[in-house]
């Protein structure tokens, strides 16, 4: 479904602030695969996700989704294939607009927007059912402004929006990092539920080892802009944090298990 081939990305090239964020990353995802991407601060995990989403172009290498080369496609055009949830709960929704208006915009992701009415009555009913199913207490507040919701509610809404129209690829960028532990756990469960029930190809970035181990059927660790660990199948299922730390030490050649890698 997703093929990332040998991509490189350097920020501020030629200045003292030069930073190679992606140093030859290749990653292939099969249809329906759920991969957790883990790594310390500055390891390149968010850069990888942004590169796939098209927030910025890569210096070299290629990215294709479902057989289509999207390397040169701008962010808004790539969105037809991709659903995204951001780290910042404020980023995924339009605060000044109603819940149903946000959902309606998401429902038409990647489609031409014309002069038809923005939210039809039929879809309003659909949204009510959908929200009720997730038990967020939002189904009777459809016209309420999103800006009045809590961070957790906004993140859950963003998640629903990202998958309202089935994406070929779902990108979750540390989407629980800004939430309190209890809400984070709930949003993660909701993510798992949505991904499983729709069999979505998913990339989830996290800096929490425990989350990365608990979720997804594949785990990829980035270090210094490179993939140093890639585990899937039975090995992933039986993985423990200790295994992961040992693997990390062996692969990175550094004794210190990076302080940024939270055990959570």
């Amino acid at each position: 479904m997703l093929r990332v081939e040998n991509i490189f990305k350097t920020f501020n090239a030629g200045t003292v602030n030069e930073k190679t964020a992606l140093n030859g990353v290749s990653l292939h995802l099969k249809e329906g695969e759920f991969v957790s991407v883990i790594g310390g601060n500055g390891a390149g995990k968010s850069t990888l996700l942004s590169a796939v989403a098209g927030v910025y172009g890569v210096d070299s290498g290629s990215i294709s989704i479902d057989g289509r080369d999207v390397t040169r496609l701008p962010e808004y055009k790539r969105a037809q294939f991709i659903g995204r949830v951001f780290q910042d709960p404020m980023m995924g929704t339009a605060a000044g607009m109603g819940i149903e208006e946000n959902l309606a915009i998401a429902r038409r992701r990647g489609e031409r927007r014309g002069l038809r009415w923005g939210v039809s009555n039929a879809e309003r009913e659909e949204y009510r059912e959908k929200l009720a199913a997730f038990d967020l207490g939002l189904e009777n507040r459809l016209t309420g402004k999103v800006g009045l919701l809590s961070g957790g509610q906004r993140q859950a809404l963003t998640l629903i929006m990202a998958t309202l129209k089935r994406p070929k690829l779902l990108l979750l960028d540390e989407h629980t990092a800004a939430l309190d532990p209890k809400t984070a756990a709930r949003v993660l469960d909701l993510s798992e539920q949505i991904v499983k029930s729709n069999n979505l190809t998913t990339m989830m970035v996290t800096h929490n080892m425990r989350d990365a181990i608990a979720h997804g059927d594949r785990l990829v660790m980035l270090y210094d802009g490179k993939i140093i660990i890639d585990i899937s199948g039975e090995e992933k299922k039986n993985l423990t944090t200790k295994d992961l730390l040992d693997l990390f030490e062996k692969a990175s050649g550094s004794g210190e298990a990076d302080g940024n890698l939270l055990l959570g």
């Binding site: 991709i82 915009i105 014309g114």
Partner: protein, 326 residues
């Protein structure tokens, strides 16, 4: 931030009664002020689109209002139908918005500077269009959109009042409809959160350009009507118009609320009218016309800081009410 109960209803009622009394006492001045306010309200709708919907302070307005006036004046004096000339003023405004939009989104120039660049360029263009700095549009010499009312022998300014009310009703309906459509929702979302909008597959640059065009189109239309109402187009008539726009916008929102999109559209129109009435009253009270811009700037500064002062006052009152908590 925006609260609908900033002004208690009693104050609103008092203001309403004051308006009616004023109208009885000074019918000519009031009719003039209200009709001018209605024509300026068309521009304020444009300012609302950029300043509130897109969250961009667009200074192009200052040039566009003159552009609309110039285009209409030139066409009318050249013998074209005044309605056609007014329509062309709208289209010229769309073009001005397009330029600012391209400067801002494609050439990545900050919005404020893009507006200033277009507005500066428009000064030369407007002189070219008119061929001189001032074009008189004297009634009975050249026709205007108000000419069809002449045969009814109405008091002065009443034709403007009628045209203003009818046009504004149509525009509010159109804008309400447009911003409710898929496309209009996308424009509103772009002003609210461009990140989210891009992630949903919408080209934010296109939405910003569309919003700027629509806004400046309305401003051009307003310019054409104002010129015909005041019977001249002048190269300086745009000066300070963005401040007038903001003043009207804020007065409208504070006095009449922002409960819903429709409510806000109507509020800003009333705001434009109230603004003109205030100006007429202070001039009547003896403010020198030359000091007007200073007065307006000071009022807008005050209005812009009002929400902050309001919040501070609220916390102060709260802390005074519950001293035991301190």
């Amino acid at each position: 931030m925006k609260k609908d109960n900033i002004i208690p209803w009693a104050v609103k009622a008092a203001a309403g009664i004051a308006m009616i009394l004023l109208w009885i006492k000074l019918p000519v001045i009031m009719t003039g002020a209200v009709s001018l306010g209605l024509l300026w309200a068309i521009m304020v709708l444009g300012v609302f689109i950029t300043y509130r919907v897109l969250d961009i302070a667009d200074l192009t307005v200052e040039g566009t209002i003159v552009l609309g006036a110039s285009v209409a004046a030139r066409m009318i004096t050249a013998g074209f139908n005044p309605f056609l000339a007014t329509g062309m003023a709208f289209i010229s405004g769309l073009a001005a918005g397009l330029i600012t939009g391209i400067l801002h989104t494609k050439l990545r120039i900050p919005a404020l500077l893009s507006g200033i660049l277009t507005l500066t360029a428009l000064y030369s263009i407007n002189l070219r269009v008119m061929g001189r700095p001032n074009t008189p549009l004297l009634p009975f010499k050249v026709p205007s959109v108000f000419t069809p009312f002449e045969k009814f022998n109405l008091p002065p300014s009443v034709p403007s009042l009628i045209v203003g009310v009818v046009l504004l009703a149509a525009l509010v309906a159109l804008l309400y409809w447009f911003f409710g459509t898929e496309l209009g929702s996308a424009v509103r979302a772009t002003g609210s959160n461009p990140n989210m909008v891009r992630a949903q597959g919408i080209n934010t640059s296109a939405m910003i350009i569309l919003g700027l065009m629509l806004s400046n189109g309305l401003v051009g239309l307003a310019g054409a009507l104002i010129a015909q109402h005041q019977t001249f187009a002048d190269i300086t008539m745009g000066m300070g118009s963005i401040v007038i726009g903001l003043a009207s916008l804020i007065i409208g929102e504070v006095l009449f609320g922002t409960k819903s999109f429709k409510n806000t559209l109507i509020s800003v129109i009333f705001g434009a009218v109230v603004y003109r009435v205030i100006i007429a009253v202070v001039i009547k009270l003896g403010l020198a016309a030359n000091d007007l811009k200073l007065f307006v700037s000071a009022t807008v500064t005050l209005a812009l800081t009002l929400p902050m002062a309001q919040a501070n006052l609220r916390t102060l009152v709260k802390s005074l009410k519950r001293p035991e908590r301190r």
